[in-house]
């Protein structure tokens, strides 16, 4: 290990980590929004939209992010839709993640038995109360492990955005290896950077799962 390399180029990785976190953060937020919408459509069985949502979910789950990104970044401008690299990356992550989030959230809502709804009704709870006090806590309890797993999955998937010229962690690693041949040091910094980003999220996820696991507490 060449420690002077680490101290000299460590800051590059800090900046790159910001980029990875920035892209993933907005990608995850949008993915959850898309997922909620799709899950609502699926649970509510809204006629025509339901089919469109199903088609979207199948398309998004069965194609790789890299191909989706290439299509968005190189393909769409030919139709006059020009997105910047970060916009492409965020839209791509949202397109991919939306379907995964939708499946996790839908699973949560569908796991709440009908009895719960009926009992809440009998107890005289209003619809809003039923949703916020009865349905949502139980749905979240089932959905949280899936949602957390999806967040980690999306952050990992964001590593391919280097292919559309975003200076994320992978991009900086490749750049430094190419420029200085300090392969070891760059790869070690790469691993550490991803561990620093992902480990806390993984731990927070486990804590959240325990916190919201009403059935077992």
């Amino acid at each position: 290990m060449d420690w002077s390399f680490v101290t000299q180029y460590g800051p590059y990785f800090v900046n790159a980590a910001y980029m990875t976190v920035f892209i993933s953060f907005w990608g995850v937020v949008l993915a959850i929004a898309v997922g909620l919408l799709c899950a609502a459509v699926e649970v509510g069985r809204i006629p025509v939209v339901h089919g469109i949502v199903r088609a979207y979910i199948e398309l998004s789950r069965n194609t790789p992010l890299l191909v989706q990104l290439y299509f968005l970044y190189f393909g769409l401008p030919k139709l006059g839709v020009v997105l910047s690299s970060p916009a492409c990356a965020i839209v791509g992550l949202a397109f991919l993640g939306g379907s995964y989030m939708s499946e996790a959230l839908r699973g949560g809502f569908e796991a709440v038995p009908r009895v719960q709804l009926e009992s809440a009704h009998v107890l005289g709870l209003t619809r809003v109360q039923t949703f916020s006090h009865v349905i949502l806590p139980q749905a979240l309890s089932t959905a949280i492990p899936g949602v957390v797993a999806n967040i980690i999955f999306l952050i990992k998937e964001s590593s391919v955005v280097s292919a559309i010229a975003l200076a994320d962690v992978m991009y900086v690693t490749k750049d430094l290896m190419g420029m200085y041949y300090d392969t070891y040091e760059a790869l070690v910094l790469l691993v550490i950077t991803y561990l620093v980003i992902l480990l806390p999220i993984s731990i927070i996820g486990t804590v959240l799962e325990r916190r919201f696991d009403y059935a077992r507490r």
Binding site: T63, S158, S159, V169
Partner: protein, 224 residues
Amino acid sequence: MQGAEILLQPGVWPRLFQGLWVTIWIAGVSVLLSIPVGLAVGWLMTLRNPIVRFIMRLYLDFIRIMPQLALLFIVFYGFARAWNLNLDATSSSLLVFVLWGGAELGDLVRGALESIPRSQYESSYVLGLSSWQTFTRVILPQAIRRMLPASVNLATRIVKTTSLVVLLGVVEVIKVGQQIIDANRFQFPTGTLWIYGVIFFMYFFVCWPLSIVARRLEKRWAHD
């Protein structure tokens, strides 16, 4: 629909399918090699030996938390530097996918094996089955049912992840697409849209049937 004529150029489809074949070949070989690795890893994970458990835990967690692209970089660039082991891009990707697929499959095997109730072992013992018979006739059939849907899903994930090998320089379907786009840059400037569109659907039509199979299996065996 301007530029769609690029798809009618001679050689475009055969070349794309050749590229797709490379993708499928890498994914298929990875899946096949992952099966024995996964079985071994799964078996090791059920052992009570604390050292083995710790090592397997570390292996699984490291593989799980690193992005696959990072793993590819580590093997492709790192191994060459560390041990002067110059794997070409295809072998590096195979190695990574087998290590990754083996770890994921191993965890499925472990889960399936641990989900078999003790009574199954005890009943087989009482019935006079040998431990080999117990494993092959009683435990394995039940374990396979429990892990097969998730394993088929894992196969689609491996196919999708195969797209990353283009970033190491393997000439597969995406690279072939880029070559076609570049070769026709002046004649069909809007061909990009069509070629990437076709590649998108090629991946879709490889993975979608697998997803359907996984879902069917899940439904059929959900209550066994």
